[in-house]
Symmetry: C2
Subunit: 392 residues, 2 copies
């Protein structure tokens, strides 16, 4: 059941000009038994950077567990995503830095706090224990909400939530090292082929008609202007594959077989003698971008999950330094350069990041001591193949 | 030692137009031994609605305790008070609702979090245990900061902090009932004289040359236009007397003798046979407003402690319903009328209050269960003569 809540745009100031927006949330009474009723538990999913219906459809654990607790299930959409757009439309919300100013984790948590308080009052269920759920960025929100609003939620299941992927709390190479490990563990030659492919790609790209040839070899719809776009496209295929390297078929990001990385590497390795590195690479990523076999050519600009807002968040609060190590990584060596990063943010969004704000507001440096002292009731659930587990 | 920190005006949004202000803070190395040095404890006073130097001069406990812990003492001034003015001056900061928009408890707590984080880094003292102190509104900030920033502070001493004086968490008559009790316990006739004085005051005020006579009887500098201003002036004398009814002489709000309410009542009671009620009232409040005997006449518009900003805060977040009961109170019976209250806020400040926001953001309804679950390490220190103890 889809509902909308009149939510305040800025919870933390009082300019007198009150701006509101419609926040979407989904309510489900899971199972035949339904909700236990007033006083019964509420499972609250902290929506993250995307359409909430998509997360609701891909969070089976919440739906599986709810009936056993006769819990009411609520999936709340994160402001500036899906249908929950300030200023009436995505175009207006994403117009400029002034309109995007209120796309922050703190404002989103306050949204959830106000929504839950109102929801419980309307259900005459103020005493309901609320358990928070969330994955990835939504998992961070679930953990942070339990810490910041202990009077509203009794616990949280924070799945794949890299709350330590900030500043120097964990090594900035850990993410790409873990992605690379997922490939290495399936096949050393697969790992090596990918590691060698970047140089190959640059050389071809710089050669006679190189970009045209590359575009043909990888079945791109448009001819490349630079090799950069192609590198990014391959990079995200490998990174997302590591995030969804499930032992069963899934359709979370893309329709994929069980153990997709094993399949990718099998395709890379099984190409006939004399196949070029890039032909092997194509055969590999084809598993990720075209498992259904219905795609004739690849459009590098596709963004199927409407995560444009995340770039803004990464340029304001969510500054997660990421480097690629010389030795362990299959990606081109790369040092995170904050100055460069910040300048790009100013150029692209007219905003300067605050790289230390998240750890100031939510903690992070030896957070375990804080979590122990408090009866924090947070389960940090991490799959070890998931590259986010490094910061989780 | 007075220092200034370049503080961000709005911690919770990213419009791209970054506005900063100079936040004042005082640093003291108490006692001969001084600070233990890096890793040593930091006592941090959460400044409230006034000049921080004034609070530093009137918080003896912090200074007394610091040497025994070799603690560094920091008194941080609250934004929009004392010298810590956004937009460069009090006139500009208090110009309108847009300039005052960022005078909130959440922004102030974020100021303290950022200041402490920066301070510890500069002192290479990240591991220092920070203990928060505060009284009244500052005590609420200390308690809320410990709850919201457990990674920054290990505990708090929240003195006379009425964190429950919101919505219907405590009876809205409790404050004036406690003030009245402080007078009743000293002298029933004193209590009765004050209780009878309001009717007397109104009748005189409405009589022939009434306001002129009243102004003479109470030695006011200007002739009254209404009796309302006089009632408010008397009301705040009684209320403040209850807040500072210390067993020793003090100069916190005003120069006062030990047990000031006992003295006030003694003066009210000891007036010669046939003295009018209002002559007795004058003799009483004279103790509060003129203990030094240097005041020739009283100016009702005096605001010695520059708390103008508090009216704004009371009209935005800090909505504390206060009524005066028919029976137990010595004040005129009065029902808190939220609609009226809100309309006045819109009229005076162009802003509408959010009466439920504080309990949503910080909790309040059965907060004890939250405090117990968390190792909250908060001492709520309340003097039972202090009328704020009802909400504390």
């Amino acid at each position: 059941e889809t509902r909308y809540f009149r939510q305040r745009l800025d919870h933390f100031s009082f300019s007198g000009e009150e701006e509101f927006f419609q926040q979407r949330y989904l309510v489900g009474r899971a199972g035949a038994g339904g909700w236990a009723g007033p006083g019964g538990p509420i499972f609250f999913y902290c929506g993250n950077e995307g359409d909430i219906a998509w997360f609701a459809a891909n969070s089976g654990l919440v739906w599986d567990a709810a009936p056993r607790f006769a819990a009411l299930v609520v999936f709340a959409e994160h402001r500036y995503y899906g249908e929950s757009m300030p200023f009436g439309s995505k175009d207006k919300a994403y117009n400029n830095s002034r309109s995007m100013a209120y796309l922050t984790a703190e404002q989103a948590l306050a949204d959830y706090a106000v929504l839950l308080t109102d929801l419980k009052r309307n259900l005459s269920s103020e005493s309901s224990p609320v358990v928070l759920f969330g994955g990835s960025y939504g998992g961070m929100l679930a953990a942070w909400m339990r810490l910041k609003y202990p009077h509203i939620a009794v616990g949280a299941l924070a799945s794949s939530a890299p709350i330590l992927q900030f500043e120097d709390i964990v090594p900035d190479t850990i993410f790409y090292d873990l992605v690379s490990n997922d490939f290495k563990r399936e096949s050393l030659s697969c790992f090596q082929t990918i590691k060698d492919s970047w140089k190959e790609l640059d050389e071809q790209g710089n050669g006679q008609d190189g970009l045209l040839k590359l575009s043909k070899t990888l079945h791109l719809c448009q001819t490349l202007n630079t090799t950069g776009a192609l590198s990014d496209w391959l990079n995200s295929a490998y990174s997302y594959l590591a995030m969804v390297d499930y032992p069963m078929p899934s359709e979370f990001l893309m329709p994929l077989p069980a153990n997709p990385i094993k399949e990718v590497c099998r395709n890379i390795d099984k190409q006939p003698e004399g196949s070029s590195i890039l032909e092997r690479i194509y055969a590999g990523v084809n598993i990720y971008y075209n498992y259904t076999g219905t795609v004739d050519c690849f459009d590098l600009d596709d963004d199927p999950h409407g995560m444009g807002g995340w770039d803004w968040q990464a340029c304001t609060e969510m500054v997660m330094p990421m480097s690629s190590s010389e030795g362990l990584s299959m990606f081109p060596p790369d040092e995170f350069d904050y100055a460069l990063y910040a300048d790009d943010c100013v150029k692209n969004f007219g905003v300067r990041p605050r790289p230390r704000w998240i750890s100031t507001e939510f903690g992070g440096h030896n957070i375990s001591s804080v979590l122990e002292k408090f009866g924090s009731n947070i389960i940090f659930f991490n799959g070890l193949l998931d590259p986010w587990s490094g910061g989780g």
